[in-house]
């Protein structure tokens, strides 16, 4: 059991777009050194969660609830106080490396900028450190790259630069929002391995946002499954993936094509019936009930995310928000 203070404690985080809830009561904990995957389809609220934590919500959106980092309530901080944390203690890797770098600034200057903001280094010191960082993200010929502009780099190279910027101040937490979605498959794997190794080297924690189950399986030891702006299941990755309790998680896993050598190709992929409703069109009660085969009248109520007894592993607790969870293989789980 890990008793260290969590790097990030999110409690009942909610965001509304107009009167429509886009995030409802999202709660989770990120422990020091943990790599947590936040998984869900488009529109499930993953990016909104990240932006709420960073205090970068678009104009007109406000987060309620609580986000605590280092004994400070981030949602209550002023812009100036947030700026001290942003880029220093909590940093972000963006989805689109093509657009996440300033096109008219040299790569070296962009990496050095974060250092100069938070570390009061001289120009030369920041530049030296930037070079080190670019070498750490295994950019070939970093010295030449320092002077390059973003458009001279490929997507993979740019994402390495973005990672270097995120790591520059040895942050406590890195939030990576679909860091590999825009990249080629072969480059994806390299970037993920790089990110995983560097997060470890810098003693940071990682919140990895993705819709790719394989990414989570490879990088994260904990996983949070989001649907309709809520976390519907969470726990250690292996447990969740081996025996999903929520019908949605189970459906997601079944929808992944398995390509194993020697195995006959399946004719049809399993899918979850229906499609993700638009914002504000989710059913009342359990948000998944209109697409769920196990839904009954109980599901008209809103299920809470509750811990499943005896499922603790390395400090991560199995939790599920479902009245009729699936109990595949897991004999110890009892109905609440």
């Amino acid at each position: 059991m890990d008793t260290a203070e969590p790097v990030l404690q999110v409690t009942d985080l909610s965001v509304s777009v107009g009167s429509t809830p886009a995030l409802s009561n999202v709660s989770f904990i990120i422990r020091p050194g943990a790599r947590v995957g936040l998984i869900g389809e488009s529109g499930s609220g993953k990016t909104l969660t990240a932006l709420s934590i960073m205090g970068l919500l678009p104009d007109g959106l406000f987060a309620s609830g609580s986000v605590v980092h280092d004994n400070r309530e981030l949602l209550d901080l002023t812009e100036d106080q947030l700026c001290e944390i942003r880029g220093d203690r909590i940093t972000m890797v963006f989805q689109e490396p093509m657009t996440a770098l300033n096109p008219v600034m040299r790569i070296g200057d962009q990496v050095a900028e974060v250092l100069r903001i938070h570390r009061s280094l001289s120009r030369a010191e920041a530049s030296d450190r930037a070079l080190e960082l670019l070498a750490q993200v295994r950019l070939r010929d970093p010295l030449a790259r320092m002077k390059a502009y973003p458009h001279q780099l490929s997507g993979g190279q740019r994402q390495r630069v973005v990672i270097a910027i995120a790591l520059a101040c040895d942050p406590a937490l890195i939030i990576a929002d679909e860091p590999t979605t825009a990249l080629d498959v072969t480059v994806q794997a390299q970037i993920l391995v790089l990110l995983r190794d560097l997060v470890e080297d810098h003693n940071s924690s990682l919140l990895l946002i993705t819709h790719d189950l394989a990414v989570v399986a490879n990088v994260c030891e904990e996983v949070l499954v989001m649907y309709g702006g809520r976390i519907i299941e969470s726990g250690p990755t292996t447990q969740v993936f081996d025996s999903p309790h929520h019908p949605y998680t189970s459906g997601l896993l079944a929808a992944v094509p398995e390509i194993e050598p020697g195995q006959e190709r399946r004719e049809r992929l399993d899918t979850i019936r229906g499609s993700v409703p638009g914002l504000g069109q989710f059913p009342s009660g359990c948000v998944f009930r209109n697409r769920c085969d196990r839904a009954t009248d109980d599901c008209l109520d809103d299920p809470n995310l509750v811990a499943i007894d005896g499922s603790e592993q390395d400090g991560a607790t199995r939790m599920v928000a479902c009245f009729h969870p699936i109990h595949a293989q897991s004999t110890e789980a009892s109905p609440r």
């Binding site: 220093d88 096109p103 030449a144 190279q157």
Partner: protein
């Protein structure tokens, strides 16, 4: 947890940098021609401080309205017998001074206003933009007359009037360009590095809209030269005996039938400098934009 992904191979797209941006940058014809013309005007203005062929304000009634090349007067003399070339050279000072300061006033006030509107949105944006609408609707000539009445006519009144009239134009262009830039991921990313909106605007947004601003500034500079000529023509600009292209043009009007060349030279000076400044603006934009440089 074990990984099934063992990718130690090089990023296949991680090709070495083949060229540095500076090597690839091309100096276009625009830049060369524009810079030459502007340099010539600046040189003429500077030289006029120490040397002109004749005293530009020296009146020799007996030598009035002489043609090109008469007794060392390269471009002839005007109706008071003053040397036209000397007048044009000294007039260039006036033109450049007004252009630089008017555009300066417009940029210094207009860019922050436009940036503020783009960054803050909401009621602040509305107020700034509606205020600029009001200013835009107010004729610049009227403003110049107003200022001349209040401060007395002269170069500085004309300059302020032109500068103030351009503030809404600059604010609008800045806001429009900045709005697009504020939407981009790299600006969100820049916010995530931990600095406020002012810093992000100055450090990240302005460089990205600089090409728009440079072009706008040169267009306005050229327009300011024309506006100064117009104001001087109306008697609201430089006052006699200060030489000014606009006033030379105005005074030449009376003698247009007799000596058309008198109107031709100041007009030519205005036209050439407007073209030169526009070309220079385009050239600088092309030179500064790393992407355009790559393509050429």
């Amino acid at each position: 947890m074990s990984t099934t992904l063992a990718f130690d191979q090089e990023d296949p797209t991680d090709a070495p940098v083949t060229n540095t941006p500076h090597e690839r940058r091309q100096i276009g014809a625009n830049l060369i021609i524009g810079a030459t013309i502007v340099t010539a005007i600046i040189a003429a203005a500077l030289v006029s401080f120490v040397w002109t062929p004749f005293d530009p304000t020296n009146i020799e009634i007996s030598d009035r309205l002489q043609g090109v090349g008469w007794e060392g007067h390269v471009l002839g003399t005007d109706h008071f017998g003053r040397d036209v070339l000397s007048q044009l050279m000294v007039g260039a000072r006036n033109t450049l001074f007004i252009g630089i300061l008017a555009v300066g006033i417009a940029l210094v006030i207009g860019v922050p206003l436009g940036g503020l509107a783009a960054a803050r949105r909401g009621w602040l944006e509305e107020s700034v933009m509606r205020l600029s609408d009001v200013m835009y609707a107010f004729p610049a000539i009227l403003l110049a007359i107003l200022l001349s009445a209040a401060r007395g006519p002269g170069t500085s009144s004309a300059m302020i009037a032109i500068g103030v009239a351009y503030i809404p134009i600059v604010a609008r262009v800045t806001r429009g360009a900045a709005l697009t830039v504020f939407q981009t991921d790299y600006i969100t990313a820049a916010h995530s590095y931990g600095r406020g909106k002012t810093y992000v605007f100055v450090r990240h947004v302005v460089p990205n809209i600089s090409s728009v601003l440079i072009v706008q500034a040169t267009v306005l500079f050229a327009l300011a030269i024309l506006a100064e000529a117009a104001l001087s023509y109306l008697g609201l600009g430089a006052q006699p005996p200060t030489p000014s292209w606009g006033r030379s043009l105005f005074e030449a009007q009376t003698f247009f039938r007799l000596r058309p060349a008198l109107a031709f030279f100041p007009g030519l000076a205005i036209a050439i400098s407007v073209i030169g400044i526009n070309l220079l603006g385009d050239g600088i934009r092309d030179y500064l934009d790393p992407k355009l440089a790559e393509k050429s």
